[in-house]
Symmetry: C2
Subunit: 179 residues, 2 copies
């Protein structure tokens, strides 16, 4: 039987924190023993639980990213997307957000199955679009939202271009008025 509570949760959080802190401090290839030391945890616990550094980084990134930038329900598609894009933009201007995105992409190996995290995000988006559709608003596809809002924001971070304030909502505006 699995034991999510108490000590296990504490160790997991401490390890996730240690990962983010070390990455943020520029120790980009800190290995498991160093992460364990920073977390105040025995290295063996990490090896047994995550198996590899990459698996740990991916888990930390997905866990932490999941809690950022949800899609609000404002009653209009404009509002929903603007709110969401604003959240993404803020995350992408934040050092930890940048680090997590970078870790996510870096540990995504080419051959594996698509990430359930990404799919979940796509479904959230689809749900917001469906609501707008029901209201009779003209709606773009999920792919268009990813292409014209998310992709530009992510690419700025990955290629170290500046994330200008207001760029998120502006991209939404452009998506919804173009055509």
């Amino acid at each position: 039987m699995t034991r999510p509570g108490g000590r296990s949760a504490r160790v997991r959080d401490a390890v996730h924190d240690a990962v983010v802190e070390l990455l943020a401090a520029g120790e980009i290839d800190a290995a498991i023993p160093k992460i364990a030391e920073r977390a105040g945890v025995n290295p063996t616990s990490i090896y047994r639980r995550w198996g590899s550094r990459d698996a740990l980084l991916l888990d930390a990134a997905v866990t932490r990213l999941r809690s950022t930038s949800p899609i609000p329900d404002t009653g209009s598609l404009h509002g929903d997307l603007r709110g969401w894009a604003d959240g993404v933009e803020r995350a992408m201007r934040d050092r930890h957000g940048q680090i997590l995105l970078r870790a996510l992409v870096a540990t995504l190996s080419p051959d594996e199955k698509p990430l359930e995290y990404l799919q979940a995000r796509g479904e959230d988006l689809q749900a917001a679009l469906d609501k707008a559709q029901v209201r009779g608003e003209p709606v773009p596809s999920v792919d268009e939202v990813l292409d014209f809002v998310l992709a530009p924001l992510y690419l700025r971070v990955l290629f170290r271009r500046p994330v200008e304030p207001g760029i998120g909502p502006r991209l939404v505006e452009r998506l919804l008025t173009a055509r």
Copy 2:
């Protein structure tokens, strides 16, 4: 004095090849000794020349990517960008192209100076836009081209979404007709 010719060049190419082959074969975290073995080269040579695995990967990616998808000179902005986007699209559908992009992004650490490779690409783009401007065509900015053509293509690869045939030129079309 530096000696670019002959043996040095041979070793460099063999090592670059070995990197790409190993990555393509799924050996994503093959270390330097393994790369050296594959290249038929002494590990010490790699340590002395590149210093670290990341530096080697970055060098291999930049060197190889530099030779793909140049911007043609067709006489119209539509044509130039379509040709370029088609090249990028093909590179992104190619396994080696995907691997190189992935390696590039993965080894780009957050704090370093912007990559001269990316700047060079931006300048190429700017040159094409300038030519169109002189001709009196309406032109987007480099940022817009990056946001609405390059970002969607790259993100598909990084997040393992399919790169549909024709998507590159289609993105150009959308960029130039929108607004």
